[in-house]
Symmetry: C2
Subunit: 359 residues, 2 copies
């Protein structure tokens, strides 16, 4: 290994092309570029068109930018919920989405299961729910919801909007957008970029809902309301001066991903995940935290490391592998390994080799 590999789930390892794109961007004056210039509009268009192609986003869905995915949690509740959202909670991040609804004075409800587990197949949604909030990949525990589960709600809850937090899984999952109204992520995870930008994808139904709330005299925020974000995006613009450099870099990395091919990247993600889960299962001292194979995330792999956590961390770090700490109260007995496009097959193979020599 030439240098260290950062396996923290986010901010994570930079995609290997980022430094060169940044050098080129500086040479081309991107950091001083006006967000009201034609040149910015073409950068905005290239980035959103690239994402549309990579993630197979239908043409009638809008793509807009915020400061973070945390901000999108707030904007979703503000713009899409008058009274009641229903949240699927199985870890710290899905819980925080629910708590944000409470902080915005909504009468939201939740279905909660313990950390490390997922949900029963058939769950009925409370009467009057306007928005169903699902976290595709619970970054704190390494539990991923299956796509059939996520897609199952639309049929029986046609009056609800379905919003999916895909912060630490995209660009891996292939969502069926006919069964989802909104998806969002941030760029410092699967896209291998410096933090500071959230990406929010939504359809016409979301826009209509926000406009309905506005028509009732309910405040849905100011500069980052869905109608204003949408109207600006139609002109390849943003309401405020955005993180221009991040939008530029995201466009460049998405182009790189398109050259590599979404299918290839997904297959590589599966290969790397299989490799690491196998190594954890075969190991004598550590094991996968998520017991049920069907619930195991492909993009954030959590190892139950018990009282060997500190020892294993040092062992890996001296070999150039920097694992992510366990989340919150699991800091002392778990390690997390991000499996993003920035993490190569060779790096995973070397990681697994190293793990096999840790007894």
């Amino acid at each position: 290994m030439d240098s260290m590999v950062n396996f923290t789930p986010g901010p994570s390892q930079l995609y290997f092309t980022v430094a060169d794109h940044l050098k080129k961007g500086f040479k081309d004056g991107i950091p001083s570029l006006s967000h009201r210039s034609k040149q910015f509009e073409s950068i905005f268009a290239r980035t959103t068109n690239g994402l549309r192609e990579l993630l197979d986003i239908p043409s009638d869905y809008s793509i807009v930018f915020t400061g973070s995915a945390t901000e999108i949690w707030e904007r979703i509740i503000q713009n899409l919920v008058e009274e009641k959202s229903h949240h699927f909670v199985n870890g710290a991040f899905s819980k925080r989405f629910f708590e944000i609804a409470q902080q915005l004075n909504k009468k939201s409800t939740k279905t909660e299961v313990p950390a490390g587990s997922s949900f029963a197949d058939s769950i009925s949604i409370p009467e009057g729910t306007e928005l169903i909030a699902l976290t595709h990949n619970e970054t704190s525990t390494g539990v991923s919801l299956s796509l059939p589960f996520i897609h199952s709600f639309k049929e029986n809850n046609q009056e609800c909007l379905v919003a999916v937090d895909a912060v630490s899984s995209l660009p891996y999952p292939s969502f069926d957008f006919t069964k989802i109204d909104s998806v969002f992520f941030s760029i410092q995870k699967g896209f291998g970029l410096p933090a500071g930008l959230g990406v929010w994808i939504f359809n016409r139904r979301c826009l209509d809902k926000a406009n309905q709330l506005l028509a009732k005299g309910i405040s849905i925020g100011s500069f980052h309301t869905l109608p204003l974000l949408h109207a600006n995006a139609q002109k390849n613009q943003t309401p405020e001066t955005p993180n221009v450099l991040a939008i530029y870099l995201l466009g460049k990395v998405v182009s790189d991903f398109l050259v590599r091919g979404a299918t290839t990247m997904r297959q590589e993600t599966q290969y790397k995940a299989a490799l690491l889960y196998k190594a954890l299962e075969d190991h004598t001292a550590i094991k996968p935290f998520v017991a049920d194979k069907h619930n195991r995330s492909k993009t954030v792999i959590v190892a139950e490391t018990g009282d060997r956590t500190e020892e294993l961390t040092s062992f890996l770090q001296t070999r150039g592998f920097f694992p992510g700490e366990g989340y919150g109260s699991s800091k002392k007995n778990q390690l997390r390994f991000a499996n993003f496009p920035a993490h190569s097959k060779e790096q995973f193979e070397s990681l697994v080799d190293a793990l096999s020599t840790f007894k």
Copy 2:
């Protein structure tokens, strides 16, 4: 001139040290750095301590980060106003601050004067006003409010909070913080950095007010509430994954500014402004837009260029000077020149020389 100079008021010319800081930051792994690490905490501390020293911010004022100054407009209204703010409006940006209060369903009031002018010395504030909102430097028109004017409100309105938008003037003005409760700016203007970060400075009275609203059951937002931003800042932390790289770069540029010295930088700003205003006054074809000398901004200098606008723009651009367009409806007959620390005396001297040869 070796290369072009960007005089747009923002995003503006990069400070000359930024590219080197970025190179070093990449080498040190800043883009992949966890915002929950000790290393991030020390970056946060260095940046805020540097700002405290540079801007002479009292120790009982907090310094926190948002995605943009536009976001701070919203957060100020959300966190500090139950019903009524009073706004001083003399251009597009001060007007937008007022409109954001309306979008958040407040019963706000305003004192409005035409673009290019300032306010009468003695203005009484409507009964029941909780927050007085002042824009130190109206970026759209190049009108600056005097510091005595800004500082005058506290004495007669002790129950009000005073918030100052200093987006396109800091680090130039020397505010008296005993007469201001909150100040904010963004980094792509006077600090010469890529866009994507707002900086919000506030005192204990602001925090108390936000807590009072919370106690009344009023929602003040979720992740970027003042109490949560403050509690995190106490630990040199942020509520969400922030723009780590921008916080790092800001700290580096602030260190550079401290070496140069705030007094020197202020004197240079005055020198460069005097030079350009003199050139505009002496010119036969163009003139300063702001008629009253006392209202003229030192940091955003607006020229009335009439039907020569397009011709002058080309003339300057071929010489490597890129002026900012006039704002909104003044696009066709005005040009704006930012005068920030990134713009050197030599660049201003060359600009003025060029202007003198334009007949």
